[in-house]
């Protein structure tokens, strides 16, 4: 009896998971539409005596037809499993799905279900399922172990997981099936605590798929409010109001973005606090824009003896020089490393000019020019932010470069005149 029930569980799990599998690549409304008739169908089956095999087959075919079956492989096997719903008690439907939902999901994710289904079909009867069970047992036991543990603990462990990949896992490949299975579990029936446990398990497993946050209010379970698409679990001791949940998600997204920006903006690793960080970002953007203006002014004043060859050489040089070179120049103002590095760049450009009368600049001049670059690169930034931002040698650099940077000074003056 127990084994038969087990087989029924497996059969039902198989069929239910095959239901899960079916609309896996479609959007959620399709899934919901595909799920409902199946659930209601199973319920009706369980409640009453079993309908005819053909009737079921036809209905299932219909269901298969409505949802997107193109991605769904084991159609015939799925159909054959359906009659096993007959001896099933509808009240325990989700109970049985729960512990096995996870291993099935895993298997689906690993794309191993179709061969299993084939095995079951060939078995022909419920005994065949038991023969195929051992392959699943390892998964089942592990998952059941997880299921047996306290839901709170497991979910709390998984809640950060579900939250953090929110922004990135919009195209979660292996997860959508689990998402949909959890949504299926969420979906239409509110049965008992076990069902909620299942929800939590699968919800904890799922990643935030489509950022469309629909039902945020906990309509599914009274215990913890869950969203359909981004499964956010209210942490212990926090308000479970739907609005606060949404706010929390939003805040986490924003902090994620701030972290990204922190990496982009140089020198912001130690800054904590959003307001200060935003100020830094603003200053950085302003300095970059000023740099662009200054450089365009510089290009305007430069008298180019342009040849097309120069353009080609220049573009090649620009494209081939790594961006790291500028940064490397920027941060080694007086050290030997920059001395060694800079001539590597300049011969690349100067030797390429066919008819220019440019002598190869002496080393100190080159270094000073580099320092000028560094200065302007850093000076714009540090000038607009706090003082003493860069290394201590910056002020001396500044003084030295001012003496030697005549051309630059003239251009600066011109710029100031014209802008005043």
């Amino acid at each position: 009896m127990a084994s038969e029930n087990n087989d029924d569980d497996m059969g039902l799990a198989m069929s239910s998971i095959s239901m899960f599998n079916k609309p896996s690549n479609t959007s959620d409304p399709f899934f919901s539409s595909g799920w409902d008739p199946i659930v209601s169908q199973s319920e009706s089956l369980a409640g009453s005596s079993m309908a005819s095999h053909h009737h079921l087959v036809m209905e299932n075919h219909g269901i298969c037809g409505t949802s997107h079956v193109s991605q769904y492989q084991p159609d015939p096997s799925f159909v054959e499993l359906v009659p096993k719903l007959s001896s099933f008690d509808g009240g325990n439907f989700f109970q049985m799905v729960g512990p096995l939902g996870l291993p099935q999901c895993n298997q689906i994710a690993n794309n191993r279900c179709p061969p299993n289904y084939a095995l079951y079909v060939e078995g022909g009867n419920e005994r065949g399922l038991t023969n195929a069970l051992p392959s699943l047992d390892e998964h089942r036991i592990s998952e059941e172990g997880l299921v047996g543990s306290s839901p709170n603990g497991m979910i709390r462990k998984r809640a950060p997981e579900s939250d953090s990949p929110l922004r990135s896992c919009k195209n979660g490949d292996e997860e959508p099936r689990m998402d949909l299975s959890s949504e299926g579990c969420d979906g239409r029936k509110e049965q008992d605590g076990k069902k909620q446990k299942i929800e939590q398990n699968t919800g904890g497993n799922s990643r935030g798929k489509q950022a469309a946050k629909q039902d945020k209010d906990g309509s599914q379970s009274g215990e913890a409010p869950k969203e359909n698409y981004i499964h956010v679990r209210a942490r212990r001791g926090q308000a479970t109001n739907s609005h606060s949940l949404a706010e929390r998600v939003r805040r986490e997204k924003i902090s994620e973005r701030m972290r990204l920006l922190q990496e982009l903006v140089p020198g912001c690793n130690k800054i904590t606090g959003k307001a200060v960080m935003l100020d830094e970002i603003i200053n950085y953007v302003q300095s970059l824009q000023q740099q662009v203006e200054f450089l365009s002014m510089k290009l305007a004043t430069v008298n180019p003896e342009l040849n097309l060859e120069l353009d080609r050489i220049l573009s090649k040089d620009i494209l081939h020089t790594r961006s790291g070179s500028a940064a490397a120049l920027g941060f080694g103002p007086g050290t030997n490393s920059s001395h060694a590095f800079s001539p590597g760049i300049f011969p690349g450009t100067t030797s390429g000019i066919p008819n220019a009368n440019v002598q190869f600049p002496p080393l100190p001049q080159t270094v000073l020019d580099n320092e000028l670059q560094n200065l302007f690169q850093m000076g714009f930034y540090s000038g607009s932010t706090m003082d003493g931002f860069g290394p201590n040698g910056l002020s001396s650099l500044f003084r030295r470069s001012i003496k030697t940077g005549d051309v630059m000074r003239k251009k600066l003056h011109k710029k100031k005149e014209e802008e005043a």
């Binding site: 706010e247 939003r250 805040r251 924003i254 973005r257 701030m258 990204l260 920006l261 982009l264 903006v265 959003k274 307001a275 935003l278 100020d279 970002i281 603003i282 950085y284 953007v285 302003q286 970059l288 824009q289 662009v292 203006e293 450089l295 365009s296 510089k298 290009l299 305007a300 004043t301 430069v302 008298n303 180019p304 342009l306 097309l308 120069l310 353009d311 220049l314 573009s315 620009i318 494209l319 081939h320 020089t321 790594r322 961006s323 500028a326 590597g344 760049i345 300049f346 690349g348 450009t349 100067t350 440019v358 600049p361 020019d369 670059q373 690169q377 011109k414 710029k415 005149e417 014209e418």
Partner: protein, 165 residues
Amino acid sequence: MNKYNPPRMNPSSLRSRFATRFLRSLSKINAKKPTASSSSPTEIFRRYRRIKVAADKSMAYSVRSRRTWSRAMLWKLRTRPCCRRSVKTSTIVRKTRHEKQNKNTTTTTGEDGVVFGVEADELRELVPGGEAMDLYNLLDETAHYIKCLTTQVQVMKKIADFYSP
């Protein structure tokens, strides 16, 4: 040992797209000017403006319409007052409607709007097209904008260094 090995650059990267476009427009600008009056401040100023516009335009075109800020910048550049085209009137009409829509959507809801009130507004002014975005998208656009600005600065710096060693 010369360790300067030019690595294979992605030909369709942002940097290459911007560099080619900008160099093209730069050569056009330089080809236009008569060498006689090139040193007068007004002429230089005009060239500066043109070069700056060219730089912004090439950057925005390199990003196409994938980003809100690039769309806003392109749009701003198209409806500049010195742009004398007959299409101007229709674009202006669209602009006012667009502005109205911007104003309607600027009202930030939620507590984050309160926290970042002043700085967010400043950032919105800096990033083109930032008026109509909520904070999250604004930060997203800012990140991409910073990346593009740094690319722009690097390329222009190399060009400038090339012409005036």
